[in-house]
Amino acid sequence: MSNLLDTIMNIEVFAFIGLLVWLYFKPFQTDDGERRDP
């Protein structure tokens, strides 16, 4: 059980790191929703 919890908590972290990387490279978006490629 504790192994499962440990795995889930670390998967959340991996997903979060992946999300940050994706957000960093994702095209810019202004306040009004307009997208601009870097």
Binding site: L5, N10, V13, Y24, G33, P38
Partner: protein, 497 residues
């Protein structure tokens, strides 16, 4: 208040934690330590990686071409002189913690390390670890959070809120507004709970000082609660009137008392031993700080693992809990400075001061242990809040110095609560730079309630667990804010080229 769901929800959550703690202090402390234990076991690597990442990003930003960007418009000039800016930085980051832990922390680490190593080597390592906890990594967390708030407020014209960079960079839509709202909420909860812990620590220390001054023993919880009531009465007035620079004067006075005390101990104590220790600690810190940031003590036994969780990891999330609060403050006083100036000032100068501080207070502690065989380690084991006063009692003019620590600790707590009530009021009212007296007083009451909970827990370890519980989600938010900053800087560079 009812028209502001964020304020309402934040007050309910923090008020509920306070109420729970008052009704069932042990239950809350056990719950906090259970959850924090799970998080620390599973995510220790992530927390250490995150704080090291923040230090690396800070160094890179300071050295890169982004370092020339101003926190404000290009023609904005700094509002404060460099000296008074640096003084205010000290006051913001120093707080009551340094007074409390100056001697106690190095000696606490020493107790454990000396079981594994030679005592004299252990003293050196204990000082290194203390410097690590209060040094570059801690200030990088503050600096990056402050930098994000300052950049988006002064250069991009956003409100001084944690949510503002997220909405500015990723556009305003349902998802970003929700994430932003949640970030503001978590920042408020982290600040409130973190400050409650500081209030408790300050009250514990003032109580020990009063005990030492008047030769009281066994006053127990009665005197502690009495001091707490006086503290609450002391911060009500500043919350109801705008004291403006008055608060800065109080805070700087506390800082001056603390600085004076450090110089006195250095000169009145074994100066050659202390200075030798400081120089050695500085060298060891510079040589090992980077690699130590990645140490997770994974291959050590459970005792070391527990120590790592209850000290290094707790400190790192503690800095994260304080980051939005200190970040807003240092952002406000840093308009017109370049990113390079900001990062160097915020990270290097307070770190140097911390190394001096722990070198002096830790140094005299180790002198007592290694050279004079003073029973100071017994005090560390039995009553950590009394260690500073035990040390001061061995120096000339103990009544004066103990009174100075009591006054400084009291001033630090009052100014921290008043500033935190202001920042919490600002965060919970959409960035209003003049939150109403009613909002500030509401936060004053909640902060008092949280402080009372921590005091009732009667244990500094319980205080640390409760703070860590409030602060843990903020690891994620600070990293998200860093991504917002990096994206915005990249956009600015591409826009100007």
């Amino acid at each position: 208040m009812l028209q502001n769901p964020l304020l309402l929800v934040a007050l309910i959550i923090t008020g509920a934690v306070a109420a729970w703690g008052i009704v069932d202090t042990a239950g809350l402390a056990d719950f906090a330590s259970y959850l924090v234990g799970i998080q620390f076991t599973s995510r220790a690597w992530f927390i250490m990686l995150a704080v090291s990442f923040m230090l690396i990003v800070s160094v890179w930003l300071a050295l890169s071409r982004y370092g020339r960007i101003k926190l404000g418009q290009d023609d904005d000039e700094p509002e404060f002189s460099t000296v008074s800016w640096l003084t205010m930085l000290f006051a913001a980051g120093m707080g009551v913690g340094l007074l409390y832990w100056g001697t106690a922390e190095p000696l606490t680490h020493y107790l454990l390390i000396a079981e594994y190593r030679d005592p004299r080597e252990s003293a050196s390592l204990a000082l290194f670890i203390t410097n690590f906890h209060w040094g570059l990594h801690a200030w990088s967390i503050y600096a990056l959070t402050g930098l994000v708030i300052a950049y988006f407020s002064f250069r991009r014209g956003c409100p001084s809120l944690v949510s503002a960079p997220i909405i500015k960079v990723f556009g305003s839509n349902g998802l970003t507004r929700s994430v932003g709202w949640l970030s503001d909420l978590l920042a408020i909860v982290a600040i409130a709970i973190g400050l409650g812990g500081s209030v408790a620590m300050g009250v514990f220390q003032v109580k020990e000082g009063v005990d030492a001054l008047f030769g009281l023993e066994g006053t127990g919880m009665g005197l502690t609660l009495g001091i707490f009531v006086v503290l609450c009465l002391s911060y009500i007035l500043p919350l109801t009137v705008d004291l403006g620079r008055g608060m800065a004067i109080l805070s700087n006075s506390a800082m001056a008392v603390a600085g004076g005390l450090m110089i006195y101990i250095l000169l009145a104590g074994p100066t050659h031993f202390v200075m030798g220790g400081i120089v050695q600690a500085l060298g060891e810190y510079l040589g090992g700080v980077f690699t130590h940031g990645f140490r997770t003590f994974t291959f050590m036994d459970d005792r070391v693992g527990d120590w790592f969780q209850s000290w290094t990891l707790t400190y790192m999330v503690w800095w994260l809990a304080w980051a939005p609060f200190v970040g807003v403050f240092i952002a406000r006083i840093s308009k017109g400075r370049t990113i390079r100036e900001f990062l160097c000032g915020v990270i290097l100068v307070p770190t140097a001061f911390s190394i001096l501080w722990f070198g002096v207070f830790g140094g005299v502690g180790f002198y007592g242990v290694l050279e004079l065989d003073v029973p100071i380690l017994d005090v560390v084991r039995d009553n950590v809040s009394g260690v500073t006063f035990f040390v001061l009692d061995k120096f000339p003019l103990p009544t004066l110095t103990i009174a100075a620590v009591v006054v400084a600790a009291f001033l630090f707590i009052v100014t921290s609560v008043v500033s935190a009530a202001f920042v919490l009021g600002m965060f919970s009212t959409g960035g209003d730079l003049n939150p109403s007296t009613r909002v500030k007083l509401s936060w004053g009451v909640v902060l008092g309630g949280l402080g009372l909970v921590m005091i009732l827990s009667g244990s500094i370890d319980a205080v640390k667990s409760i703070i860590a519980l409030g602060a843990l989600p903020f690891v994620f938010i600070v990293l998200l804010l860093v991504v917002c900053l990096l994206k915005a800087l990249k956009e600015e560079r591409l826009g100007s080229s």
